[in-house]
Symmetry: C2
Subunit: 341 residues, 2 copies
């Protein structure tokens, strides 16, 4: 198994990518191809004493910036490390692709270079988030600001496949992010998506309000990319707000300081639980081959985790499960529309 | 000044309404009219030893349930305590109305019974939320699942007026909830609202992502009712998740328990800060006269706070400020469209 990784994606590239990739080769029993400017990679490894002898380095002269228009990955930036890596994946020169670079460019590039699974309307960006119990998946979290109901139904199938195969969750509970419990709540988008999900092959449990997401009300939360991004980022901001406030509380007075010292260790444990980068990167679901978006601030540990995630993604046959689910979804729709299967 | 309160709105009505109203009369120097079934109110007061001699009781035989279709407040439930209270407000028999009952019915009833300020397209439900620094206002949080750009621009004007007049915030920073910082981010709704807010009379600082809302990135966050509800409820759920997790951490082992005892007091302080009911109810902005939605789970203290909030709402001339802002917004639009002022 060979994982391709973008050598120049993320704030700490290429050094942390190289360190993470070297560790992955040693620890995970995978082969890794690092894509990027060969000369820069070799001098960075030399300067920092990173052993890259077990890595394959594939040259790509350019880098696409996060501020850049994502669609430029197809023409102006077709020789950037991300575009070249995606092409290698498409050509079968590897089994999965990992990048910590621009989310927009990765979604765009994956859609048009790696292409979509048959029948998939849109690629979704999915994130696994902490809850009071086991982590849950929210998708889409930003790849598609505007969605149609059929897309949300497909997100449900894809999220369910990932959570059951990759995360080993049995019969994952799929819910639709909404502003109330009743099927009539929300916009036309949610009302129609509710209907489609109700007759889909997933274990659809109905609507979920924002409050119940961190309280483990579902294993998969389906949302349009705008709402999903609001949920994800608000959770992130609240985590920072609260851990910051608690730290502040234990910085004044001797009594507070004393209890604070005892508390700090606990807070750090908690912070680790809250840190969704611990769960690896965000998988792009719906692409023809596995693509993982590593967090932009990833360090060697996070890149190694993202490579581990890519490995499990492949081994657990998530894509086959998605395809099977899509077929079933389509058949159910046909039956409902009175067409022959 | 006379505040009208719904005697049968909320989980703890009428007892906690009566206790809160009686306290408000004594402490705040306001007159209070409680609307609801006179016989039930009198027997409840007698049974529980609440002195209601200083309250005016206005009879309304019916109660509208939270599960009921909101539009029924106009016909089938026109004699419910909420509808009667709204009519009293419309007729000038009081200066503001407070209810802990059905949000949907209150928005619907306020819009059609109390009516809107001249030029207002939609009434918005606004909530004041805690942040790392001073609290901020998010609106709309659920009155309008579907919004047009002009509505978001008006929400900006209304939120800014409330935060400056009611909360004393100088030149409030108004931001648009979005999935990225650039003006081109989001859906057509956000792109057009961004343009309108940029040329509006408010201190518009651009887009805000979910992460920066709890981190005090703005004083007023403008959102469609669907996204605003996701933000509000996700913050609420995260608060519960985190305080629950921290409690759990200090329940095992002697060392943990010891530090936990010292920590509990701090956690309770924090919980109080996180409890947005402490800031009073959620004002409906855009109605012709002040209407406050008290939390459904309000106790006497929360009802008294909501009455105090109504009092400040009136005294601080929020409605005049909103009207002035709307005029300015309209003039700017006219100038932009090349029409004479």
């Amino acid at each position: 198994m060979r994982i391709i990784i973008d050598g120049f994606g993320g704030d700490n590239a290429p050094l942390e990518v190289l360190k993470g990739a070297a560790r992955a080769v040693n620890e995970l029993g995978v082969e890794v191809t690092v894509v990027g400017d060969k000369e820069k990679i070799e001098s960075c490894a030399k300067e920092n004493g990173v052993d890259i002898s077990k890595l394959e380095i594939y040259h790509a002269p350019d880098v696409i910036d996060v501020c850049c228009d994502p669609s430029k990955i197809l023409k102006e930036y077709k020789d950037c490390s991300m575009a070249v890596g995606l092409r290698l994946l498409h050509e079968g020169k590897g089994d999965a692709f990992v990048s910590g670079g621009s989310t927009g460019a990765l979604v765009f590039g994956a859609t048009f270079i790696v292409k979509r699974l048959k029948g998939i309307k849109r690629v979704a960006l999915a994130t696994v988030l902490p809850t009071v119990k086991e982590p849950c998946m929210v998708l889409d979290v930003g790849a598609n600001a505007d969605c149609r109901p059929e897309m949300l139904a497909q997100f449900g199938v894809m999220g369910s496949a990932y959570m059951s195969r990759h995360m080993g969750r049995k019969n994952p509970r799929v819910a639709l992010a909404n502003i109330g419990a009743e099927p009539t709540k929300g916009r036309d988008l949610e009302r129609e998506a509710y209907r489609l999900l109700s007759s889909s092959p997933v274990n659809f449990i109905g609507n979920i309000e924002g409050r119940d997401i961190p309280l483990a009300g579902a294993d998969v939360v389906v949302a349009d990319g705008f709402s999903g991004n609001m949920i994800l980022k608000t959770m992130e901001g609240m985590g920072k707000f609260i851990s910051g406030s608690l730290r502040g509380m234990f910085s004044g007075g001797i009594g507070a300081k004393l209890s604070g010292l005892l508390v700090l260790k606990k807070l750090n444990e908690f912070k680790k639980k809250m840190d969704y980068t611990e769960y690896g990167g965000a998988p792009l679901l719906g692409t023809a081959r596995p693509v993982i978006k590593a967090h932009g601030s990833s360090d060697a540990n996070a890149f190694c985790n993202a490579i581990r995630q890519a490995k499990i993604f492949i081994e657990s046959n998530v894509l086959e499960e998605i395809s099977a689910g899509l077929d079933e979804l389509k058949n159910k729709e046909n039956v409902e529309n009175g067409q022959a299967e």
